[in-house]
Amino acid sequence: MVEKLEAEEKAYTLYHPRWFRPRVSTYWWLGRWPYLKFILRELSSIFVAWTVVLMLLAIASVERGPQAWAHFLAFMRNPLMVAINVIGFLFVVFHTVTWFNLTPHAMVVRVRGKRVPGLMLSGPNYVLWIAISAVVAWLLMR
């Protein structure tokens, strides 16, 4: 009888039967591609920041003179830096593509009462991106 009462106490709280509350694992983002993609997208911001820092370092070394610039170039040629920057570049591209694709969700543009299709919002982003990249490539290659 006492055992039965104890079991009932465990099964019930004051107002309702005991609910099972599942715990969220620390690794919830592993194993499901959409979640992993989200975490990688968030992680990509670190590489965006990294790229900005590199750019600032490059400008600072140009400002300090030819010797500093040569030193900066040597630093960038280090295989470890090349490896980090290749990974960084892939992350920055991933960052750009995922955010461009999300633009139509966040922005609603209506023309004459009709919602403009998503491709009309993300498309110009891609066109501008490619155009600016082409100009930069032309400046570097010429």
């Binding site: 009932e8 099964a11 099972f20 509350r21 969220v24 969700h105 966040a106 922005m107």
Partner: protein, 257 residues
């Protein structure tokens, strides 16, 4: 013998179990059967104690949401044939992130409280038209119609890791429904909803995982509603600096920081 399919179903009885366990059931396979048909077969023929919610079986009532092979699904719209080809058991669990009452039944009070908080009804500051009904053009209807399709099935909450990790987050469906009324030409209650929505646990809790939109059976796009509202609150916050004494509307938009 007819073809069969195995369902692995979460069983939990608060009186009997410390935590949920899986139980396997073999049911006949018919290509026109949905997961809910298989559950009804089990309850009618194999084990009457199996508990789950369902009502309309046509994707309107929003009661039969469960995790099917780890994905939030309306079981009335999820065909066995989509999974049978894999020859593996179909795993059916209660919706993720909600407390479980019994077997596949989740406790939804948290969602109901949040839904009420965003005041999902028409709020009028001025009296309604003295004669006849409110008039609305097709364009005015089109602005909010997508968000009005929500059936409160809470699949989006089960897809949202932010809600799982931070249960005070108002969540996708409640915010989408708040937007449904904010964007309605008849409504004048956007100011009343602002303090809940512009709160750090409102739209700013969202990190735009986007899974709520992907799993929504009614194509409501709650993630879109949240991002669009972030833009609104950011503008209101900015305006509150330009006109510190308020423009007469939305003057309490300080949650954007």
């Amino acid at each position: 013998m007819a073809e069969t399919v195995v369902l692995q179903i979460t069983r939990y009885s608060p009186e009997r179990d410390a935590e949920p366990q899986f139980e396997s059931f073999e049911v006949p396979f018919h290509k026109e059967w949905v997961v809910l048909d298989a559950l009804n077969y089990i309850k009618d023929r194999i084990d009457g104690s199996l508990s789950y919610r369902w009502s309309c079986r046509m994707g309107i009532c929003g009661s039969c949401g469960m995790m099917v092979n780890g994905e939030p699904k309306l079981t009335c719209a999820t065909f066995l044939s989509s999974y049978a080809a894999k020859r593996k058991p179909i795993v059916v669990e209660p919706l993720r992130y909600f407390p479980v009452i019994r077997d596949l039944v989740t406790e939804m009070t948290d969602f109901m409280v949040k839904l009420r908080k965003v005041k999902p009804w028409l709020i009028r500051k001025e009296p309604p038209p003295a004669q006849g009904e409110f008039l609305q053009t097709p364009e005015q209807l089109d602005v909010y119609k997508q968000f009005s399709m929500c059936i409160n099935c809470t699949l989006c909450y089960a897809a949202c890791p932010v809600y799982g990790l931070d249960p005070v987050f108002v969540g996708p469906a409640a915010i989408a429904l708040a937007q449904r009324y904010n964007l309605d030409s008849r409504d004048q209650g956007a100011d009343d909803r602002l303090s809940i929505l512009a709160h750090p646990e409102g739209v700013w809790g969202c990190t735009f995982v986007g899974e709520c939109t992907r799993v929504c059976p009614k194509h409501v796009d709650p993630a879109g509603a949240i991002q669009q509202y972030k833009l609104v609150t950011a503008l209101e916050w900015f305006k509150s600096y330009l006109w510190p004494r308020g423009t007469g509307k939305n003057s309490e938009a300080s949650g954007a920081d």
